[in-house]
């Protein structure tokens, strides 16, 4: 068991257990906090995959913005201070079965791919991943078009969210 494998197993345990707590727990603010734990585990996983920039962007964007948005939304949309009643609807058994089937199906299909047990080679692009990533995002024959479209998408989301959430005086 190399140290990498031990770290990966610990991370995977954290992610899966936090994700299960997210979808099971009754108290919604606790669910949002378990989501923070799961997202942090995913960030550590990115670090293990030697994508350090992505790990930090995950923390900044997901934990620093999206998780806080979730906590605010949970606090602003509750009638009373306690959550009561079951948090899963009446189809939960079928949903659990469906989720298990999806997992089993995905695992089976993936395991029959011949690259399934590939081990890691050298870091693609050398050690200057940040430079390669930066150049790829702004060079015209690489990915500048999706980059610009993503920024327009963010602008549209910003305008839309402010417009929808502003209560119109009727």
């Amino acid at each position: 068991m190399t140290p990498d494998q031990i770290i990966f197993l610990l991370c995977a345990a954290l992610i899966v257990s936090s994700a299960l707590m997210v979808v099971i727990t009754r108290n919604l603010v606790h669910a949002a906090l378990w989501l923070v734990a799961a997202l942090f585990g995913v960030a550590v996983l990115y670090g293990l995959l030697q994508a350090g920039f992505l790990a930090l962007v995950q923390v900044v964007v997901y934990i620093g913005a999206i998780a806080i948005l979730f906590i605010f939304a949970v606090m602003l949309t509750r009638r009373e201070l306690r959550d009561k009643g079951p948090q899963v609807n009446q189809n939960w058994l079928i949903s659990a079965l469906l989720a298990l089937l999806t997992f089993a199906g995905l695992a089976y299909i993936l395991s029959s791919w011949d690259g399934f047990s590939r081990t890691a080679g050298v870091l693609p692009g050398g050690t200057e991943t940040l430079m390669v990533l930066g150049k790829a995002l702004v060079s015209p024959d690489a990915y500048v078009l999706p980059f610009e479209v993503a920024s327009i998408l963010l602008l549209a989301a910003l305008v839309g969210a402010v417009f929808i959430a502003t209560s119109s005086k009727e």
């Binding site: 140290p3 606790h30 920039f53 962007v57 923390v59 900044v60 913005a65 806080i68 605010f72 606090m75």
Partner: protein
Amino acid sequence: MTFWNDPINFIAGWLRGVFMGWGLSTGPATVITSLIGIIVMILFAMLIAIALVWVERKVVARFQDRLGPNRIGPFGIFQPFADIVKLIIKEDITPAGADKAVFNMAPVISLASVILIWAIVPLASKIYGVDINVGVLYLVAVGAFGTLSVIMAGWASNNKYALIGAFRMVATMISYEIPMVVALLIPTIIAGTMSVKGITEAQGNLWFVILSPLGLLLFMISAIAELGRSPFDLNEAESEIVAGFHIEYTGMKFGLFYAGELLHAFTFGGFMAVLFFGGYGGFFGLEKFPAFAWLSNPFIELVVFLVKALIGYWIIMWVKYSMPRIRIDHMLTFNWKFLTPLAFVLLMMTALFDKLLAPTQFYVLGMFLSNLVLAWIVLEILRKYSKRERAEHEKNAEPVVQAAHH
């Protein structure tokens, strides 16, 4: 490699030798040595936090024309220890109906988010935790944890003043992250690297404060807002909402919040020094002469860094104890309508002039003058805007005066 030239590697090598002499293989020996190094770094940060309690109280006293603590020890230097003893022996109250797990975790995460920053602070050219190549982004990411701890504290206290304070603080912190990220990008563009040590090395000839004084101002304003200190401290204003999100915390849990806030302020003072004032360097090549070769000793660099960080911290304290509090809606308006557009214009201008003027010899002069021109334009716009507002105000105020006459 002696102790005086390269302290960390020397001690690490010695420790590793000791552990291997006890029979461990290289892997676990390195891991245990690294763990000891981490603990030493955390201890250093916490010792600085203890000293800062005394510094803060003496400085605020002098600003307010009084003496400050002077009974416990000469000049009151043992006051922090008295404070620690008081906080430990206080009763630990958890409010009824509070969410115990979240309530107890919030101060821990708040202090952890400050200590995590000390992993990348370059104390000297050979004394630092780790040199990651995205250090500047790490600073922003760790600030996100601080925001999370504030909202956890506010919600778990089961107290509406705590919740209001937490909402205000989180709104301020996430709003002022944007000018701070842009202000952090300015030294990144000039130095060409996001690594904090790389930015310090790039200032070997010229401090970035001369190349971009507006960047320093932007960083200072947004850092003070991120810290939640005056004049942006409506979130914990004692006269308004009674300490905001940490009302319900007593004893050592409050001590964790308090120490975390002081250490956070000092860390941002340190980052002001690192990003704009040359960090641990500062002799501008004097140490290349053989007579002055001792100036590049890591311990001298450590002292230089600490002095600069203390000066930065003193400026933050100076602002805190001289200015009145700003209202929350003024705070947010200031950010979204003034600081963010200014930050983006400054970023574009810095990038443009950096690219255009880099090969020529007008680099320093051009960058400095462009900053001055931008500052002058902004002041002119503000002057016209305030003149117009004042004229409207006086026009609307007249009927009130006439109505009072009869």
